[in-house]
Symmetry: C2
Subunit: 476 residues, 2 copies
């Protein structure tokens, strides 16, 4: 073995030598039983003080790489794990829950890719609307206080009070601050509830078509996910399987069809929950953006028996990458949900909670919503008109009526495939939502999701013109 | 039924009236089949335009609360769910996984309580050391960019590169940026791995004594958690059960005893992992704070087969409430772990990732660590001297040697109970760590955990004087 010292190393010779010898031993260049050069010899060879070598050998002995020999001198005492095999061979390590993940049909990717020229994907608010200045100020104020140690897993008491008040005022959801849990967006909110309530094999009813990331989450937890059809009145409650333990719904603005769940269905669902000891998870993901006067009341409002878990999020109203949302939990679940949450990630980050608290209580959120509602309403009108015209011309089979949110959906004429339209539009720089991914049923209608959150109002007409052209092309 | 309009309501009369009637129906004051007053009559009564009443009734019909009657007029069509029962009766709702949570022996509480006069609990860094100004600046810079939509679940590519570089430099952990996942502290890191690898009933080996929140997490996932003893050389590898699937260890600075795992044990553990297809989770929670020159190498360094998941955190070096940590994953697990993470909470928040990136790359983190290392070393010396003296005087049976971290541990003499010492110290305004909670074995030694992260250096001597007095008192 060659031992050498890089002259550039300067002062820290003993550290460099230790590291070099250690590496030689661990990598197998020096084998178990190999003798190290005598300290005197190596010192002379390297032109360093003998004490430097002694120190290094001492450390190697202390760390267990080297041992003193009976006849004097030192030898390598380290034996590499699996030394006979190639260190780069592929590991056999595998994730047993990989099977579950595979069944979720959930795919990632494209996060780092360049954004499309025209982004008509769903669930994305306009980054240009983000109240950067106000949020920065709120964050900066939040960071004038030194962070303390571990804090409340359900979130800051002041923020939970503010959110309870806000969700009452804006969505008529009655919530005691104790029932509120601050979460990393809606996704973590559903995760908390699902982990608390579901055992592998439990039956979960979801809307079909529905919201893929939550369906995939249930599958990843080993639940038996049963698709329940959706019509113009929302979830077809009669079709919920008898053995369902949890029902996940988007009653205010069904994701993705836009159906508003009728009062009859709501009553039926609540009745069912009471009869069968069901939990209803209500994801109220984007109804802050109403485009008509008709109010979209949460199901939670009608629940008198603590059967509904309300899931709120600031991903659509502010930005997904803030990771801020909340749950309104039935009182019966508060304690357990909080315990579980503390084991998942202890608590939400403190500074963004402080910032959100200020944002909610000083009216900045309300002002932001008023401003953005108006602007999204313009876009909604453009897209609704486009869909109407396309239906008139037979380019789409049916244009769903959306009273809220940041996307709209249409069905395609017989023989026209979503994939063909999306491919053509993609070729033209337009990314559309993925309607097919929302479906579990095999023979589902072909359709399109047209999001208008992330495209600018100026760009929207051109984007829609390109969708029109893709529709014409796909229709042959 | 009395219908009235609050004169203060002003413009929004139709909204107020709608709400009042809806509430009357939902609450049961108006029953199914009850007739509503004729529009003309009610308009006259309330002194509003008849069109206002017509609009309101129209909305009630549209929402399904009211229906038109054959003979003209409108009647209530809503039937309350469970109307015959008291609306406030307690729900039967329960969490089936509550049983698992109960077995975790994990208790929360006291998060909002006033902090103790002298905080000697473990795992808490000094909030006064937090680099508030630099962090605020980094966050403010991060918030000059409008947040985009959903981003990489494993964290920003630039931050993962920076962390891979940093952990190589500071902890000699070889990591490709693709193997790094940004997490909400170490707890979420372990959660990702545990959810990926464990099925209910799987055997997990943990150190005894060990770190309670992680043990509780495994239990909450339904794992069979087997305690494995710890001695001066760390985890007793021979005692790992044959059917273990995952081993959780703190080899650099065993939590809580402080033992540094010997090289023999490390080799044995890695050999075992390879023979039995085990995964080792290495929690390197506080070894940035070394108090002696002896390096504490991570187990990950010796792993040549991708068996070790390295868990890092900024909770001890910066602050727990930032919720920032990371994993270095074996390549074989990267894809699945990322998929799972996206279903848990999509991604880490963006702004704090940007801030951390800047903090790591511009040297602020290194500067911060140099500053704080020196200051914690002072405290460590004070506590070590105290423990040494107490041992000399027979007040403690054994003072463990801690080469790193923010706490130290001692064993108590025969007949002296931790509870008695902590109660007395608590009475005197001193909060100590909870040693008993770290144990699973029934007949475990009594001991104390003395944390020195959260107490000031000035206060520390007085705090230790009070511990001394509590020890004397408990010894009778």
């Amino acid at each position: 073995m060659d031992v050498f010292l890089d002259p550039a190393i300067g002062r820290n010779k003993s550290e460099a030598l230790f590291e070099q010898l250690r590496e030689a031993i661990v990598s197998g260049r020096l084998h178990h039983g190999d003798r190290l050069p005598a300290t005197r010899v190596l010192a002379a060879e390297l032109g360093v003080a003998r004490s430097t070598i002694t120190t290094v050998y001492g450390r190697l002995v202390a760390e267990g790489y080297v041992e003193g020999r009976a006849g004097g001198g030192s030898s390598v005492s380290y034996r590499r794990a699996g030394a006979s095999e190639s260190p780069t061979r592929p590991t056999t390590l595998s994730a047993p829950n990989l099977g579950l993940l595979d069944t979720t049909r959930w795919s990632l990717g494209g996060f780092d890719a360049a954004p499309p020229a025209f982004d008509l994907r769903s669930g994305r608010p306009d980054p240009a609307f983000f109240p950067l200045l106000e949020w920065r100020r709120a964050m900066s104020d939040a960071l004038h206080v030194a962070p303390t140690g571990y804090m409340e897993p359900a979130g800051r008491a002041d923020l939970r009070r503010a959110l309870a008040h806000w969700v009452q005022r804006s969505r008529a959801v009655d919530a005691d601050p104790d029932q509120v849990m601050v979460t990393a967006g809606a996704q973590q909110g559903v995760d908390v509830i699902a982990r608390l309530l579901l055992r592998p094999g439990d039956v979960v009813a979801v809307e079909d078509p529905g919201y893929p990331p939550v369906r995939s989450l249930f599958l990843a937890l080993g639940a038996a996910v049963v698709p329940v059809p959706v019509d113009r009145d929302g979830l077809v409650v009669d079709r919920i399987p008898d053995d369902a333990r949890l029902v996940y719904v988007t009653p205010s603005h069904q994701s993705p069809t836009g159906a508003v769940m009728s009062l009859d269905r709501r009553r039926a669902l609540l009745d069912l929950a009471e009869r069968r000891d069901l939990v209803i998870v209500e994801d109220d993901y984007d109804s802050e953006y109403r485009h008509e006067d008709r109010p979209l009341e949460p199901l939670h409002r009608l629940d008198r028996n603590g059967r509904v878990v309300y899931v709120g999020t600031f991903s659509k109203t502010l930005a997904p990458s803030l990771r801020l949302g909340f749950l309104v939990l039935p009182t019966a679940l508060v304690h357990d949900a909080t315990t579980l949450r503390s084991l998942m990630d202890w608590q939400p980050p403190d500074a963004s909670q402080r910032a959100l608290h200020r944002f909610v209580t000083d009216g900045a959120l309300d002002r932001h919503l008023r401003r953005t509602r108006r602007r999204y309403r313009e876009r909604h009108a453009l897209v609704a008109a486009f869909c109407h015209d396309a239906a008139e011309q037979g380019l789409v089979a049916e244009a769903h009526h959306h009273v809220a949110g940041l996307h709209t959906t249409v069905h395609l004429p017989q023989g026209v495939a979503e994939a063909a339209v999306r491919a053509r539009a993609g070729h033209d720089g337009v990314a559309l939502g993925d309607y097919g991914q929302c479906w579990q049923a095999e023979n589902h209608p072909e359709g399109l999701i047209i999001g208008f959150g992330a495209v600018t109002t100026d760009d929207l007409p051109e984007a829609l013109r390109r969708v029109d052209s893709a529709l014409r092309h796909a229709a042959g």
